[in-house]
Symmetry: C2
């Protein structure tokens, strides 16, 4: 299918420098970390109004539009499976307003998360959501997936910081939700309906986010454990204590080995897992909290707990956590990063079951987790071109979903459904839920032109 | 209109002790703090399943159902304006689960908010949302209005604590959203779509809420100011400092006068306003925070700041704040509690304009505010039976809405739209927003049987 020549001409005229249809450009915009499909054309509007004109044109020519931030999705979210246009937000990358007085920032969708984090920090403020890809991913993508990351355990997720959105509806109408107020109950909460809707209901072009005062200090600690189950048990024990760590990241031995090979990072020979734990707040309170949490870790079997002596030591722990996945990918032929969440008291059992399922299906499963909120990311290394391995992965995937659902968990804590989890969705969500989801989708996008072929529309339970 | 005899018989059979149709019962369930209309029958189901049977029967006989918690609404939310059934949640009042390990509680809709607060506190946990009516209002009502209260300035609102809901759709189907996980992005966020939907989309029967560790200590301070504008300026200055008070309540002189007459409470003769300020967290950090905040207050003109010496002194300040409205009501022939929010930097201007509008229209306007999040509650005392006063109030109401919207504010911070604000809604929300709201309503409730005549359906901008 190729784009209608009139549409192409109109888009080229509208977006002189933001119109791309060279094969090398189409390829660049064809993939995320999970899937690949080429668009007919890429458009990079530079304003909400220009994006609205694109959306109006696309609807006139019945052409699918797939929104794209930085393409760091792990589920096929920004992959244009039905061709048409990829609408990238790269040129909408301005912080439009940053008010210390109102503790609020208004940003365009293409702003990189870490840029916002740094800009607000310079004002003594703090934007907590912190996906592992913060250095690359965009606020628009964060809103689309309701991104979380390591800070979720204390500070929640993207949705918890939104006060308003500007979005373009299929057809080109501009929708404004919420605003700059900390409390606002006028009308249904369309802000949070759009958040996590994976670009299926509207194209988010601007977001207003509330900010917190920057914590006075933060302290990091490493805790090494002799086995992964006791590590998960320590996590559950910390979370049922009165302490509120702002980071509680779990990394297993295979992950640490990859880190060691890639970076200057060493770990004790007997360690089967590492917890990276942070507390933040008033400086004078941190040592006591760290000591108490270290005590809990030791009670659960940790054989070494070390508070980072300075920012350099702290950053070395974070380099391990952030760079480890890339290090693994470089070693492996292919790796899938999965995403489940369970109630934190069941994290030990979830870790246990996932590990056992890896063994059962003969797959190498590396486990990392934003453990404090029960959010697991099993990394599965296999060769999808090898039929037997592909079948083993499919069986593992099905069994892992079952295990998570049996534990009262969810099929996605933060990566979203996209293409990856669509087939599993009816196992978690009831027919009533899915029917309402489809009706809401129709209210926003009656012709199914916005990011088609994902989520509830691809879950095989059509009504 | 009276109930179909078959429906009445079926309901009486289903709900032996939870079926009320004596005139005195109908009267009890006819009003909230804003409006009054009598139902044909009151039903008090004791489970989600029983509520589902009621909803199925109601739809079969095309009978409106108006959900009701404790009736503390200030906007006509639980008033059955089209008759039919009032469905009260009073008999669904159990805390079903309270897990310290998972920091989560699952409660029935009829649980009184303060009961939950106390139950979790006994476990060393903390449920922050704290509407002024916490001693009476229910979790179901809190979810319906996305209730906030004094703790919102630091801890956010009801929506920020929900992890899942059980609800009954019109027609009787049971809908489950979310669950027990801290992160969950499977499917659109129907949990938060229902939260704040004022009982228009589904009858919420159960809620799962996340809990925080109980702060180690809390400290309260009173700060008296010579005029209300400098009080509001102090609030803005505190909020743009690095401090994060958990309470920042403003009360004006007229309010304090009513408190003084009703309780053992005195205040300085020159005081035009009081700020009740609290900080919480680790004990060792509280004095420094309080001193810094007191300094800011003095810089902005406070002539007296006093830290509460003990819990009794703290409770006396809270009695003033909580009991003041009741004290005013007892003095006045009639009083309306309004609800707006603005960005906090504009609170001084909002307070100024609202006061001036009271003068312009010759009305007595008392001002209280959850000031830290810019959430104002002007209390207007007038006699609605006096034509001139009623006209003055209507003019004030229109002007105040305009002023708030001009400041980038919202028509409702936490009370909701209900009947009170429906006519004003199109001045804040765009036609696109209202069209989507109506389509979402139709997806959930195609026959408009659930809490009809409120919010977007009554806003006079039908499509």
């Amino acid at each position: 299918m190729s784009l209608h020549p009139e549409l192409k001409a109109a888009l080229r005229k509208l977006l002189t420098t933001g119109f791309l249809d060279a094969p090398e450009d189409l390829r660049c915009y064809s993939y995320d970390m999970f899937a690949r499909a080429e668009p007919e054309t890429v458009v990079l509007p530079e304003s909400t109004e220009q994006a609205a004109e694109v959306m109006a044109l696309a609807q006139r020519y019945e052409t699918p539009v797939t929104p794209r931030g930085a393409g760091t999705s792990l589920t096929g979210g920004p992959t244009p499976v039905r061709g048409g246009l990829v609408l990238g937000t790269a040129r909408m990358n301005n912080v439009l307003d940053l008010s210390r007085a109102d503790r609020i920032a208004r940003v365009q969708a293409g702003v990189v998360t870490a840029h916002l984090q740094r800009a607000v920090m310079e004002q003594g403020l703090f934007y907590p959501p912190n996906p592992t890809s913060a250095d690359y991913c965009t606020l628009g993508g964060n809103v689309a997936t309701n991104a979380g990351g390591a800070s979720g355990v204390k500070y929640g997720v993207t949705r918890d910081y939104l006060t308003g959105l500007t979005a373009v509806l299929p057809g080109g109408e501009i929708l404004s939700t919420g605003g700059r107020c900390m409390k606002d109950v006028a009308g249904y909460d369309l802000t949070r309906l759009l958040c996590g809707s994976e670009g299926r209901l509207a194209l988010v072009t601007e977001a207003s986010v509330r900010l917190l005062p920057k914590p006075e200090a933060v302290r990091a600690m490493s805790a090494y454990f002799p086995d992964i189950k006791s590590t998960a048990e320590a996590v559950a024990a910390i979370m049922s204590s009165g302490y509120a760590p702002c980071t509680l990241e779990l990394m297993d031995r295979a992950f640490l080995r990859a880190v060691k090979q890639a970076y200057e990072f060493d770990f004790p020979a007997d360690a089967q897992a590492l917890l990276l734990i942070e507390v933040d707040g008033f400086e004078t309170t941190l040592n006591d909290q760290m000591q108490a949490i270290a005590r809990i870790c030791k009670e659960q079997g940790a054989f070494q707990t070390t508070v980072a002596a300075d920012e350099a030591e702290r950053q070395s722990l974070w380099q391990a956590r952030r760079g480890g996945t890339a290090a693994l990918v470089r070693q492996a032929s292919f790796m899938v990063s999965l995403d489940y969440a369970v109630p934190v008291s069941l994290l030990p059992e979830a870790v246990d079951r996932i590990g056992a399922l890896g063994g059962k299906h003969g797959l190498e499963v590396v486990v990392i987790a934003h453990a404090g909120d029960g959010n697991l990311h099993p990394l599965v290394i296999y060769d999808p071109k090898d039929t037997a391995q592909a079948a083993a992965f499919a069986a593992f995937d099905r069994d892992a979903c079952n295990a998570v659902l049996e534990l009262g968990g969810t099929l996605s804590g933060e990566h979203g459904i996209g293409m990856e989890k669509a087939a599993h969705l009816p196992r978690q969500l009831s027919p009533a839920f899915l029917r309402l989801a489809r009706e809401i989708k129709r209210s926003f996008d009656p012709r199914d032109l916005l990011n088609p072929g994902k989520c509830e529309s691809a879950c095989g339970n059509e009504d």
